[in-house]
Symmetry: C2
Subunit: 230 residues, 2 copies
């Protein structure tokens, strides 16, 4: 599934599509694609609506029409990504439990699903993760909603998977943060991984090898082999 498909799917809103003769994508998708590309090169504030429209090959007025301007586009991208992220998290947990997997195996399954989600939208993931490190009104609102929910879901997962951490709330929080960062970091700093470590965060082989490391991490944390030694 492509980046755009994920965004369109993740959001779950009704979308008006206009065929774009240039490449067969809808105008809306072309705007999203160009915006993300330019945001990752020059930052959100360094990118003008005019540059986005030019790169997408659409009329500048359509950016306002679809997203209500640049701030609307920003809010749409952030909320779409985070909503899809949490949906994938919940779905992976539910499926792992339905399949009868033990709690520590669930941690591995959830990590796998979230890495897959980010691999499907490399530009968007990097952009959202980076924007979330800024200190502004939108970020505060997204934290109070999406990231609070994420914390709740991950805490629940962890309390089952590593029960010995329960007695030390500080360690439990640090372990949870480390798990979260482990999932997120390759997608926040993909060029660092590429240029300095020669790793390719977007590749299926990366996912497979990284999952093996995450599994070992969970094993070390829980102090025992994960699941059924699968």
């Amino acid at each position: 599934m492509t980046l755009d498909a994920v965004i369109l799917k993740g959001c779950g809103r009704m979308l008006t599509r206009h065929a774009n003769p240039a490449n067969g994508r809808s105008t809306r998708e072309a705007v999203i694609h160009s915006a993300l590309k330019l945001f990752n090169m020059g930052g959100y504030d360094g990118t003008s609506v005019r540059a986005i429209a030019a790169d997408a090959g659409v009329n500048i007025a359509l950016v306002s029409y679809y997203f209500g301007g640049k701030q609307g586009l920003l809010e749409y991208l952030m909320a779409s990504f985070l909503e899809g992220y949490l949906n994938n998290l919940e779905k992976a947990e539910r499926e792992a439990q339905d399949a009868g997997k033990p709690p520590d195996e669930c941690l591995v399954s959830v990590a796998d699903a979230l890495i897959g989600y980010q691999q499907q939208s490399l530009y968007l993931s990097r952009f959202v993760h980076r924007e979330m490190t800024l200190d502004n009104q939108l970020v505060r609102e997204l934290m109070a909603s999406y990231l609070m929910k994420e914390k709740f879901l991950l805490t629940r997962l962890f309390e089952k998977a590593a029960p010995e951490l329960k007695f030390d709330p500080m360690s439990a929080d640090f372990a949870l943060l480390q798990y979260r960062d482990m999932i997120m970091m390759p997608f926040l700093q993909p060029q660092f991984l590429r240029k300095v470590f020669y790793l390719q965060p977007g590749e299926p082989s990366f996912r497979m090898n990284y999952l093996r490391y995450i599994r070992r991490w969970v094993e070390r944390l829980a102090g025992r082999p994960v699941g059924n030694l699968k």
Copy 2:
């Protein structure tokens, strides 16, 4: 030591100071302080030289005079931080070895030093870590120099501390990346830690508690208690 003191010290260049009657800081320090504050609120590209000068209470021409404009200011901040970071890393390793600490204890000492370094310059740390996730010429140059050297230094540390990882280069890289992220993440996303986890990355108590977690992480990785069970 304050943020400004760290930047001025870390860089090691001769600095011309001009007394600023408003708060006793030099003009140069006032510009750096205001720039970092505004960059963390609106991003680098969203912040004008005019706004920096206004916030610092200095004439706009002085920003060009001291830094050769906004790009020069950016390069100065990035290089200063990374240079100080690597200096602290090397110094902590050398001191730990001179004190006869075993290799896994050295990993803990280096983490402690780097957390301390970032605590002394919270604004600057966050700004540099975030900028390093962009995809531009300056970032590529800084990666090829500073971050390549960081990788070399950390690899050397890790090969001594967790020799069993040597036989699995992939795991060794992931462990190294995780160690690096563990040290960096609280300072890239301090408001997330504050607002969602009620942790205060700038506080001495955070450093103490977090170090305890890092020590446990090293123990799990090395498969034995760190150092002399101190």
